[in-house]
């Protein structure tokens, strides 16, 4: 089992992201429907599908693929998801610059950059019932596992579990930003849509990287 993957050859990870979002279109919209306006799956699927059409063949290297996804979201999608996920993916891509291998060090930095990017553009805080509530604990768990000396593959596994726990923790939160925030206490009791899509994205990345490492 490897402990890193080739950045140049891993653009396919973005294809996997696109697929997972498209597959979960209805589910994500349904979750958004409970306390939002029911279009999260529609929005995400539209943006990711558009990006899919722009990737081209052969699939470009991972940073280029991430940037194509980011630009498509920012330029063509609009809404909140365009800028938020757009920044998330371009921030990740920035960390790959000058690197050849994606290993635990680099991946940890990607998560940090993603978190900062989303916070910068969206000005939300952890606990506000947003995708940050998946991203932030996932990033922390990864850091801790990596610092404690676990292997990259195992750290990804830890992160996936933390992302899921983070996502599920949004059930008990009251939304502070976005449409759902208008509901106040009534927003408690259901998943946050963005936290759910973010969990799908992180888990798909983890799974894709692990597979490429032969884990």
């Amino acid at each position: 089992m490897l402990s890193s993957i080739s950045i140049k050859d891993s653009g396919g990870l973005v294809v996997e992201l696109i697929d997972v979002i498209r597959e979960n279109r209805a589910w994500l919209s349904k979750i958004d429907g409970a306390i939002g306006d029911g279009d999260h799956g529609i929005n995400m699927s539209k943006g990711f599908t558009l990006a899919g059409g722009k990737l081209g063949e052969p699939i470009p290297p991972l940073p280029d693929a991430l940037n194509i996804l980011s630009e498509t979201l920012i330029e063509d999608l609009g809404g909140s998801m365009g800028p938020l996920y757009g920044y998330l993916f371009s921030s990740m891509a920035d960390e790959l610059e000058g690197q050849e291998k994606l290993d635990g060090d680099v991946f940890g930095k990607m998560l940090h950059a993603a978190l900062e990017g989303v916070q910068e553009i969206g000005s939300a805080n952890v606990g506000d019932k947003t995708l940050l509530d998946t991203l932030s604990p996932a990033s922390e768990a990864f850091d801790e596992a990596w610092r404690s000396g676990k292997g990259f593959a195992e750290c990804l596994e830890v992160m996936s579990l933390a992302a899921e726990k983070g996502r599920d923790a949004t059930i008990d939160m009251v939304a502070k930003v976005g449409r759902a925030s208008r509901l106040g206490e009534r927003s408690r009791g259901v998943l946050d849509a963005g936290a759910t899509s973010c969990c799908l994205i992180l888990q798909t990345l983890a799974k894709g990287i692990r597979q490429r490492m032969g884990a």
Partner: protein, 332 residues
């Protein structure tokens, strides 16, 4: 859901094509299918006026493109902010060399996308300044005015900004007038039934039959109170009770009034409401100098109404009276 569309994912595209075919004298296409402009835009040496927002609010936003109003508009999916690229391309379509005023509503998506687009424009040396409408009184407390949403008051802000630009004012002057306009404007909505985004296929919120939601937002954002439907006179009083003290509007004020249906409320009912609004406004010693009643800013097929009031000084009065010609608002 019994509605008129082809593929619901492309309802905005289809509608924009229809608008372009219907109004070639008022609307022109740009290279970006999500950006429309006045045929005369960009107009040399005039400050460009731009807005943008989600679709489903027609005639807002594209219906206010026209002489004396907006130069270009960025068009989003239904109830969803246009992309940063659309805003950016609208800035370019509107820029006559004296900068662009982007006058838009306070929604998270719009804020983010406008911010990104303005950054991008700055890189090419195009100056974009913004005014963010926050006229919706129930959406946040008075101390938290910066959190309030923008609703139908945006139309009056566009009218003021558009007229000011037409007068030859520079960007800072246009921005100052538009900011003054929205600072003097207060709105409130009452929702009576929900609406359905065609691609979603079912209402994304619910109002119990026989109930109304006071302070509802333009996308069904929850209001401040849900209660049994009141007679029109009490609805009018309730709306005025929320907005009059907030500015406050007072005796001897000159005001502009905009009563807009949310889409599915019969127009005659807006006049039933206005009958009472006019009575109170007159009794309070205010003078209505500009009045707009109709479906000016809608939310698909929602039932309900918004009331918007602006306190006028002589400048705002003059700018509201200036000629304008757009699909949604014409002054001769």
């Amino acid at each position: 859901m019994n509605r008129i569309f082809n593929n619901p994912d492309f309802i905005v595209e289809d509608a924009v094509r229809g608008y372009l075919k219907a109004h070639p004298d008022i609307l022109a296409a740009t290279d970006n299918p999500r950006v429309l402009r006045r045929p005369a835009a960009p107009q040399k040496d005039k400050v460009g006026i731009v807005t943008g927002g989600g679709s489903g609010h027609e005639p807002a936003f594209l219906g206010y493109v026209g002489n004396g109003m907006l130069d270009a508009v960025a068009i989003g999916e239904i109830f969803s902010s246009p992309s940063a690229k659309a805003f950016h391309d609208a800035f370019i379509a509107a820029d006559g060399g004296r900068g662009v005023a982007c006058l838009y509503g306070n929604y998270a998506g719009d804020n983010m996308n406008v911010k990104l687009a303005a950054k991008q424009a700055a890189k090419h040396g195009l100056t974009v300044k913004t005014v963010v409408a926050n006229d919706d009184v129930p959406s946040a407390s008075k101390d938290d005015r910066s959190k309030r949403r923008g609703v139908a008051g945006e139309i009056l802000m566009w009218k003021v900004g558009g007229a000011r630009a037409e007068e030859g004012a520079d960007l800072d002057e246009v921005i100052a007038s538009a900011q003054k306009a929205i600072d003097a404007t207060r709105s409130i909505g009452i929702g009576l039934s929900a609406c359905t985004i065609p691609a979603v296929g079912k209402p994304n919120f619910h109002i119990e039959d026989g109930h109304m939601e006071v302070g509802i937002g333009h996308h069904g954002e929850p209001g401040v109170a849900v209660m049994p439907v009141k007679p029109a006179r009490e609805m009018a009083d309730l709306m005025l009770d929320h907005i009059l003290p907030d500015l406050p509007f007072e005796k001897d004020d000159d005001v502009a009034i905009l009563v807009s249906g949310l889409g599915a409320t019969p127009v005659m009912e807006l006049y039933v409401l206005y009958d009472r609004l006019a009575e109170v406004i007159e009794a309070r010693g205010m003078k209505t100098r500009h009045l707009f009643i109709g479906n000016y800013f809608t939310s698909l097929e929602m039932q309900g109404v918004t009331l918007t009031m602006m306190r006028l000084d002589s400048e705002l009065d003059r700018l509201l009276a200036a000629p304008a010609h757009s699909i949604g608002l014409t002054r001769v």
